[in-house]
């Protein structure tokens, strides 16, 4: 199911906004022993600043692979991935670390919180790696925790928090360095539906405040929140839709 190149241009939303993510004909091939797995096959995708994109598709269709490339955690086998108009294949490992630190906030399905570390310290972590290290790191971390509704959980350890609260800590951590882009790979996959709704509402609110949000999800009602839905199958984009009546507008 090949998507014509024109289609991509027709569905690129927020005309006039500067481009934040530009994936041009990228493929990602993994070799496992003798076999090769084509996780992404000649995919192109453009996302502009300020968009709210839901990526959907069955398991194994290449969504996470795409997210990792967008998040500068990995490089494509062929094709070019530009983030903030910079080709990640040409950047040094330090420059990539800096890009992940400043421009991108990542939220994972498994939360990926550090054990034996308080919520406040978790959220301060990206600022510890920032250069120069901000002098108001703790203050900023407190503000982000307040923003995700955990003002009274600053000194709690992960095991003292519910799944939803842990994911909020992870979101606060992703936000603390004021990134342009928030990437979330199945952020509600491990949460119940009510908590999931709260988390998605939080993403809408953040998007309304100007952050570009790209979220991978299986659930259609979660995807309802997004302004744009991109459907993956077998390493290809099979559908890229601008939602006419997305719920995210309610948060504006």
């Amino acid at each position: 199911m090949d998507i014509p190149v024109e289609h991509r241009e027709a569905t690129t939303g927020e005309r006039g906004s500067p481009t934040l993510i530009e994936a041009r004909r990228i493929s990602k091939v993994y070799s496992v022993g003798e076999q090769t797995v084509r996780a992404l096959d000649d995919v192109s995708l453009t996302i502009a600043l300020g968009e709210f994109v839901a990526i959907m598709g069955p398991s194994g269709s290449g969504k996470s692979t795409m997210m990792n490339l967008i998040g500068a955690l990995d490089v494509p086998s062929t094709g070019t991935m530009e983030l903030d108009r910079r080709n990640i294949a040409e950047m040094s490992s330090d420059a990539l670390a800096n890009l992940r630190n400043r421009t991108i906030g990542f939220v994972f399905q498994q939360f990926n919180l550090l054990p034996r570390t308080t919520a406040l310290r978790q959220v301060m972590l990206p600022l510890m790696y920032a250069i120069p290290k901000p002098h108001d790191a703790e203050e900023r971390a407190r503000r982000c925790l307040q923003q995700v509704g955990l003002a009274d959980r600053m000194d709690h350890y992960p095991r003292q928090l519910s799944g939803g609260q842990q994911q909020r800590v992870a979101i606060a951590r992703a936000l603390v360095n004021s990134p342009k882009l928030l990437l979330a790979d199945e952020p509600t996959g491990a949460l119940d539906s009510k908590t999931s709704e709260e988390i998605m509402a939080l993403f809408c609110q953040l998007n309304a405040e100007g952050i570009t949000v790209v979220v991978v999800t299986h659930e259609h009602d979660v995807a309802e929140y997004a302004k744009r839905r991109v459907q993956f199958r077998d390493g290809n984009i099979v559908e890229d839709l601008q939602q006419p009546g997305y719920l995210g507008r309610a948060a504006e």
């Binding site: 990792n68 955690l73 490992s93 992940r100 630190n101 400043r102 990542f106 990926n112 510890m128 290290k133």
Partner: protein, 410 residues
């Protein structure tokens, strides 16, 4: 990330596996502990030997009557010609660089004051004995040359004797009795402590040579003007080897010993003897040093092993740190700091154990406890260096993980 932040992370990680951390550092504990013991025992032994040499008297030779082969001599005591006042006189006049000379007769027996009685060592000496032995009088005065000549009934007491007979009261001017003969105490000797054979040198009563002869040593054993042993002190710039040769040929000549036959006296440099013993201790120190080097290497391999385990266990954490902006050098530093902190933990425990062990050794050998702060710093630096060397490979492995593979690991 700053060192302080890295250290905070390292301590959190080490605390989480407290028992494992301590067991891992066992090699470092032993290595650092033995460095401390080695240095402390080495310097304690050296200072003890120095003290003994000093208490012997500096730049000094001793002439003993009889041949140097002490055991297995068949000549019998009768054939042994004692050293005489005239031998001593000749040494004083004909050897170059002599500063002071004194004979020394030794004996033992009771000394009495009033109804107090103490069994002690007597020495009969000439007036220069205090100079020769670097053994000053701290209270009162030394013997005069005249007192030595006229068998004056005066005495110098060691501090142990003073304590036994006088307690805290003033001994100078008081009278003591030796074999029922009254002697007046004219001075108290400075305390010298134990000699190299563990004998209390302060348990002593000094009498003028002529007064002591026949009194502390039975008259039958003392032939005319015997002076026992002769102590000779030389000027600091005199070579003792040359002085020894000079004295030996002088005495052979005086005592008419034919060429080729054995001396009936022997001249010894006692400091040399003590130094030889000290060098045996130094050898022991080197052995301990080798032990600690091997322990540090074995300990370092243990650290490397546990750091590799730690990197594997925390692969996801490493991936996360990279995902939020940790650079390779940040990850490298974090694990290096952790390895060094682990080694320093072992180092501190090792220092505590080493200092205690050194204190026990020093107490049982009755040495001063000498634990130099620079030995502790050196041992801790060796531990830190071990952490850097053996922590580098695991830390580098962590730093070169691919962020995605790290995040995906279980």
């Amino acid at each position: 990330m700053s060192i302080v932040d890295s250290l905070r992370i390292a301590l959190t990680a080490l605390r989480a596996n407290m028992l494992r951390s301590i067991l891992t550092t066992l090699g470092i504990i032993i290595g650092v502990g033995s460095v401390i013991v080695m240095v402390a025992v080495g310097s304690g032994a050296r200072s003890e030997v120095d003290r003994q040499i000093a208490s012997l008297g500096s730049n000094m030779l001793v002439v003993f009557p009889g041949a140097s082969r002490v055991g297995g001599r068949s000549g019998g005591a009768g054939s042994r010609l004692p050293l005489s006042e005239r031998d001593m006189q000749a040494i004083r006049e004909k050897t170059t660089g002599v500063v002071a000379v004194s004979g020394m007769l030794q004996g033992s027996g009771p000394v009495v004051r009033g109804n107090m009685n103490w069994s002690t060592n007597f020495v009969g000496v000439h007036d220069q004995y205090n100079v020769v032995r670097d053994w000053p009088v701290i209270n009162g005065r030394e013997f005069t040359p005249n007192e030595t000549r006229t068998a004056a009934r005066v005495a110098l007491l060691g501090t142990t004797v003073v304590e036994k007979l006088f307690g805290t009261s003033e001994p100078v001017g008081q009278t003591i009795r030796v074999k029922n003969v009254p002697f007046q105490v004219v001075g108290v000797l400075e305390s010298k402590g134990q000699n190299s054979f563990g004998r209390d040198q302060d348990d002593v009563v000094m009498l003028p040579m002529s007064a002591a002869r026949g009194r502390i040593v039975g008259r039958s054993q003392v032939i005319n003007d015997s002076v026992g042993t002769i102590y000779v002190k030389f000027a600091p710039d005199v070579s003792l080897t040359e002085a020894q040769e000079q004295m030996e040929s002088l005495l052979r000549q005086r005592r008419r010993i034919k060429a080729g036959s054995e001396d009936d006296f022997n001249v010894r440099n006692l400091s040399e003897f003590l130094r030889a013993r000290a060098s045996a201790l130094t050898t022991m120190g080197w052995l301990l040093g080798a032990t600690s080097a091997i322990s540090l290497i074995v300990g370092g391999i243990g650290i490397m092993n546990i750091m590799l385990v730690s990197v594997t266990e925390r692969t996801r954490e490493i991936g996360l740190r990279m995902a939020v902006g940790g650079r390779r050098r940040d990850i490298l530093l974090q694990f290096l700091v952790e390895a060094v902190a682990l080694c320093m933990l072992g180092g501190v425990i090792g220092v505590i154990i080493g200092v205690s062990a050194a204190a026990v050794v020093a107490m049982s050998a009755q040495w001063p406890i000498l634990i130099a702060p620079d030995a502790i710093l050196m041992a801790l630096a060796a531990a830190a260096l071990t952490g850097i060397v053996f922590g580098f490979f695991p830390a580098r492995r962590a730093a070169h993980l691919n962020p995605i593979d790290a995040l995906r690991s279980e």
